[in-house]
């Protein structure tokens, strides 16, 4: 595969860019694969990538009902951080964050990981205690975070209003190496690398059934015909319940809409990501200049990728209060995605009642940041049957009452 570089671009420029290869092939499905990954979102693609890279398993198909990266990976607000409270979360999110640091180089595709820093604002005494607790935990977990004063917050975010009449800013939890990345590029970069390893990415192909023989998976039915395989990884986020139903087991899961929006682009005015969980809104500025804004989920089961407008209202209210200068900016576009929310709002990366059928889901409102770590761990689990990073995220935890609850410290988990 032709490598990307400034020289390659210069060379191509001379011949009007007629020489670029396809970033990924669009093959017809083969009859059999060692591994079928259902869902070409970030997690599915990353899983395939690390199956190849770390375990040499390349006879892999990634089956996507729509266009690759078109699910939540293609519609999220791209916040990347690892300052989670509970050990298992901190471990996998920090693994992911550290992989993001070198992703552009690993994939030879600029995913624009921008470790610009993430602040979570504390606006109540209770939040202060929660974030100080997180800072202490992170220190033991090898996650670099820091509790900062309001003055420091203002230095880092000049446009913030510290003295809102309702909820003054009392400080914040600061992760300097958190940030954002170009979400589409993450999917495209992995896809290109997978394709280059000889894996087949099959788009516009929906998995309609999971075939099992005496408790083992043997393949899937798709809109492009049946495909045999030895192992399946179901990595379909909002559609997890639908897939598990096909395989004959159920999940502690509900699918709800989460919305986001962008403003019209303006010149740079905010260099970090700010999350205000008490008033429930968060905002960053993309490299193109839009303010990227998100908030809370809808309350009801939904598969429409459309949300209810009052949530947009609540979020915007919160941000106009926190950043008064955005009041005269305009909303350019709003959209929604269907997020997969589990009983404890933490993900499931697990074996399933069906042999050789693995599931990775439940990232809900916060799984973009975890894509590389999750892919890494999922690949290990699928290849070797065991991965320390996934241990605590098994389905069984709900039976044992061994939950991983992040709402404890921070209100939300984007």
């Amino acid at each position: 595969m032709k490598r990307y570089s400034v020289f390659a671009v210069a060379r191509e420029a001379l011949r009007y860019h007629t020489g670029w290869e396809r970033a990924w092939r669009s093959p017809e499905p083969k009859r059999h694969y060692d591994v079928v990954i259902v869902g070409a979102g970030g997690h599915g693609l990353a899983t395939a990538y690390y199956l190849g890279k770390n375990f040499g398993i390349t006879n892999v198909a990634i089956i996507e009902k729509g266009w690759l990266g078109g699910g939540n990976t293609g519609r999220n607000t791209t916040i990347i951080r690892s300052n989670y409270l509970q050990d298992p979360s901190a471990a996998i999110y920090e693994k992911a964050r550290s992989l993001y640091e070198t992703m552009s180089q690993d994939l030879n595709y600029n995913v624009m990981f921008s470790p610009r820093g993430v602040i979570m604002l504390a606006q109540t005494e209770h939040e202060i205690r929660g974030y100080k607790r997180t800072a202490h935990a992170n220190q033991q977990q090898g996650v670099q975070t820091e509790w900062i004063t309001p003055e420091r917050v203002k230095e880092i975010v000049p446009i913030i209003n510290l003295h809102g009449p309702r909820y003054p800013v009392l400080g914040g939890l600061w992760q300097e190496r958190g940030g954002t990345a170009r979400h589409d590029a993450v999917a495209w970069g992995y896809a290109r690398a997978c394709s280059d390893m000889g894996m087949d990415i099959i788009q516009k192909c929906e998995v309609t059934g999971v075939r099992t023989e005496n408790g083992r998976t043997v393949g899937v039915d798709t809109t492009k015909g049946p495909i045999d395989c030895d192992k399946i990884g179901m990595i379909v986020a909002g559609n997890a319940s639908v897939l598990s139903e096909m395989a004959g087991f159920r999940l502690p899961m509900e699918s709800v809409a989460l919305q986001a929006m962008v403003s019209e682009p303006i010149k740079p005015c905010m260099d970090v990501v700010v999350m205000a969980n008490t008033v429930h809104g968060y905002m960053s500025q993309s490299d193109k200049g839009e303010m990227v804004i998100g908030g809370g989920t809808d309350g009801f089961n939904n598969y429409t990728q459309r949300g209810s407008f009052h949530h947009i209202e609540e979020t915007v209210r919160a941000l106009v209060e926190t950043f008064p200068m955005v009041s005269r900016l305009k909303m350019l576009r709003q959209w929604g995605g269907i997020v997969d929310v589990t009983g404890d709002r933490s993900p499931i990366i697990s074996k399933t009642p069906v042999q050789n059928c693995f599931i990775n889901c439940g990232w809900g409102t916060g799984g973009f940041k975890s894509i590389p770590g999750s892919g890494w761990a999922m690949a290990e689990l699928m290849a070797t049957g065991h991965s320390p990073l996934t241990e605590e995220f098994s389905i069984n935890r709900f039976k044992e009452g061994k939950f991983i609850d992040e709402s404890v410290a921070a209100g939300v988990a984007h």
Binding site: S5, V9, S104, N110, M325, R328, Q334
Partner: protein, 1010 residues
Amino acid sequence: MSTRLAKHGRLIDRSKQIAFTFNGKSMQGFAGDTLASALLANGQVMMGRSFKYHRPRGVVASGSEEPNALMQLGVGDRYEPNQRATTTELFSGLTAQSQNHWPSLEFDVLAVNNKLSRFLTAGFYYKMFIHPRPLWKHVYEPIIRKSAGLGAAPDKELKDADTYEHFYFFADVLVIGGGVAGLQAAKAAAASGAKVLVLEQNSHWGGRAPVDGGTIDGEAPEAWIEKTLAELRGMDNVTLRDRCMGSGVYDHGYALGYERLTDHAPGQGGPRHRLWRIRASQIVTATGAIERPLSFAGNDVPGVMLAASMRDYVVNWGINPGQKVVVATNNDDAYRTALVLHDAGVEVVRVVDTRETGGGALMEAVREKGIRVELGRAIAKVKDGKCVTEVAICAQNGEGGARETVQADAVAMSGGWSPVVHLWSHCGGKLIWDEANANFRPDASRPPLGDNGEGFVVPAGAANGEFGLGALLEDAAAAGAKAAEAAGFPAKSVAAAKGESEEEARMEAVWLMPAKADIKLRMKSWLDYQNDVKVSDVQLAAREGYESVEHTKRYTTLGMATDQGKLSNINGLAILADSLNSEIPQVGTTTFRPPYHPISLGAIAGEARAEIFQPVRKTPIYDWFDKNGADWEPVGQWRRPFSINKPGEDRHAAVNREVKNTRENLGLLDASTLGKLVVKGPDAGKFLDMLYTNMMSTLKVGKCRYGLMCTENGFLMDDGVVARIDEDTFLCHTTTGGAERIHGWMEEWLQTEWWDMKVYVANVTEQYAQIAVVGPNARKVLEKLNAAAGGGMDVSKEALPFMEWRDGKIGEFDARAYRISFSGELSYEIAVAASEGQAFWDALMEAGKEFGVMPYGTETLHILRAEKGFIMIGDETDGTVIPQDLGLHWALSKKKEDYLGKRAQQRSHMVDPERWQLVGLETVDGSVLPDGAYAVGEGVNANGQRNMIGRVTSTYHSATLGRGIAMGLVKHGPKRMGEVIEFPGTDGKTYKAKIVDPVFYDKDGEKQNV
């Protein structure tokens, strides 16, 4: 160089001159001008710079679809970037600045990007800036960010000078669009008696018709529009709103209207924008159509305009678009522009029509005027520059060779029309490809579905792909009637007005000009002006495998600019389809999302800002605290005093004083926020036994009992004191945050699970002001009040023992006194009517003087309870803690076989002896343990994280004991009394603390029992 014509200008009032400034230069316009028309009238053709290459740009359109003419409007607290000059009505004093250039519009340093455009193709940044790693964050990204973005950001301290509001409105039929189709549809719908709301985004009604001509019912469209407006205004079931855009269509007939009240007259007072939250049974989208540009090299040079828009500038605003104009088209409509120009005395050098066979009547009319019409021809290239100077003409069917060059200073182009299907599509309405007009139109058989599963949007007129006046009026009348019918108002058939316009010959789909334009031309043929996406970019995306239209969009950013591809989408996906050897319908469109046209965040936030951003809940004594030094802390929606600071005293000093004084003399706490729920009925006891972990049914009338509540998942959720009022009435206290939550929790169980139980619940939290009278002198002050009033409730140890309550009079006040203590002191919590709360507080403060009375706040409350080892919901609990973790086994009834949470607490992990347990913690050196610190054990876990064995749940400086005290959850804690464990702080220090009993003070509870 355009200027004002002597004739035309139906929208301007030449008698009203208006002064404004552009880039500091003062200019003059007329009332009725848009900023765009006024700038043109002042000869200002170049209006901005493009996003990526910083190319000079002029206005191409006359409406909200404009991609180029974006301005920074206003100054100070009214500054606003990215305002379209075409939708900005001129007002006197308007100050506009063009954007995205440095140092000036005329000379822009970053115009070098234009020279580099060959390198800066779609997606170039995905292939570059990869090495060396640190440079992305520190060098490349900052540069890219600076050159990207459009208008300058508002000042960091800007506080919007304007206000905004919302308004709810309900309609049977909502008509979006006030052109002839919209008006006709409204008329048809209204005739049925349905309640109709019509929204028009512009300040003038009628849409294109007055400019495009033809006749309606035999007269000029304008006359019919006036008549129809008058009729509609006369009907009281019709509401007309101009300057009000249908911004989005949402599920179940919800729609947003974005009304711009003062944008055309800033500072006149009142809200700037009003966001209409409309609920309609049926919605008619009569949003018209948008003309498409033609893709030829240099189609973005200032002076190149959409043909119909140029016509608008002439007819509506009397603008002379140039001296010599070339018209390029693939359809008949553009000939109207040629006629209008000719009639206005502008020389039309050429009409270049791609169709070998040419057009119909309109073409003949043009030829009759002696205008040169060339068939099968195309524009090969417009010479680059800050305005049009030269136009090269060639055969449409070729690579662009054999050119003839003509001098011209403006170009009018028309690539055909696309219906505005946005609002139809927002909620899932589907589209079909219309071969004849080469556009997507609504597929009436697949409308968006409402709550009843039936379609709720009906397209009308040009928005439905009907372009001939006659046909579209018929269509609109039918649409209006259909909508009314569906809304439950059978139509009294209204005949459609009779529209007549020239027969038009069939247009020809032209996606590239000339058809086989070579790469050099394609690299200069713009699709998306604002985001600088060219034909060659879309072709590159296709070649590289970004085949899905959604991939192409995201890879090239086609259609992602502030105009959302109103001009570029169809042209772009046609190029994509061609590169994939596929058909346009197969390629399909990207998803249409609200808003139709960007709306201010201020409008979305509405009235909710500053003081009424969110409700602040206040107790009856709030104002007193506010006047007397309260250091406020938000607790849920309430605001409670953290401490009450004396002048010059900081909160810590204040807290220490409050603690000491309460232990030694007398403290008063405003406990009004505590939840109070009345639970009554024959089954009340049985019900509470299910809700609380301990037994409530056995509580004696007149007595109080502390109780715990758990979720079904076993975790502790709330606690409080329950008082039995009479045989079948209980009063349950909840935490401050718990009142509404627990009330809802009770109702939920009663309504959805145990609906056979005879129990009623009422939330009386705010009926009472509840004041905790705490400290050794508590009884004295109450007795003094009673004495003063001559009698009252007997509050002696015997008459009102610990954990009992009484009704009666305290001084002048009807009160209920609970002898309960959350501090370990002699304490009464006294509830009086909220309306008398302040008076009662004043009485206590007055009478308490001699006993050293002082109010105290939430922090002192926390410390007093911590000294006594009482747990606090939200500190010791966090949603993952069960009563067993807190050593509260005594509060878990063994007798009951069931209570909410009991089953959950039997699960393996809940009975795991390894669970962390509550203990007291005493720093070895008396210092205060840091909030939320963790205790570390040996080694690391499988993921290399340091093993942790416990954590601090609450920690304070105890003024009473003069040292730090804390509570925490520790692995095997209760078995490790006396052991010292380590808490690494984030300050680099390691804190050593001894595990002790959590009760630090008055272990035997002497003080509260006096």
